[in-house]
Amino acid sequence: MITFIRQSGFDVEERPPAPSPSPALLDVVTKLLREQPFCFFRIAYGGELQIHLGEIREFPSARLRRRERGSYVLGTRASAWVVYSKGESTLLASDRDAVAGLVDQAGPGVGADARLIEEGDYVPAGTAVKDVALHRVHDGVGLRLRFLDGSRVDVLPTDADREDASDGADDELPDWELLDADSHLLSVGPGVKWSYDETD
């Protein structure tokens, strides 16, 4: 269970994004995600937030209770995340550290089950991605998705110093990834490295 902060009455004020650390990566992400409609949020194993966008499709496994998925799936992997809901005037975050130093107005918030984000109307379904921005977060590349209604999602790679060196993870995870409509995978991180695998 991850710490989940939900704070109502939040003023969704945006700071100007810093210059992109990688214009080529920004170009790829923008081409893939701009104008894609929001579908829904899903929490996957390990507390990973998935942002489903595009057209509704079905996962291939009959064992999934909720088989629907977006044609584009943005996975936050082990990165922190913050969702700013314009319509609900609410901030939701993966953990308190994700908010510290980044959002001045954040108060103590209320811890809750992260799966609650799947039930709320924090970003109305069908709301299109207005634009994307990249910025340096610690040693990695953070992603900001802005939606036409004023809501936004920040994906924030965590500081390597925060990771538990004894966590047993021998698999180098990207900081975030994007499965596109053709099942090509964009992987970003750790650090500033990225790849866009256009093979099936």
């Binding site: 390990g46 496994s61 009959a62 799966r115 698999d171």
Partner: protein, 65 residues
């Protein structure tokens, strides 16, 4: 740790040669199992051990072995 849990899911997906789409759905499936009360024995959060993950992968893919 979330990072280790997610890395283990990746490793299990590779073991079963899951497609990228299947691997992403597998993470959703595991969380659905936990939410439905089918929890693993790894810790108090109900996370899955490696052997349990392999069993879940078989279940998810509809394979006997």
């Amino acid at each position: 740790m979330a990072k280790a849990d997610i890395a283990q899911v990746n490793a299990a997906a590779r073991e079963f040669r899951m497609t990228r789409e299947e691997r992403i759905g597998f993470g959703v499936y595991l969380e659905e199992c936990k939410a439905a009360g089918v929890r693993g024995s790894k810790n108090a959060r109900g996370d899955f051990t490696w052997d349990e993950l392999l069993e879940k992968a078989r279940e998810y893919l509809g394979r006997d072995r």
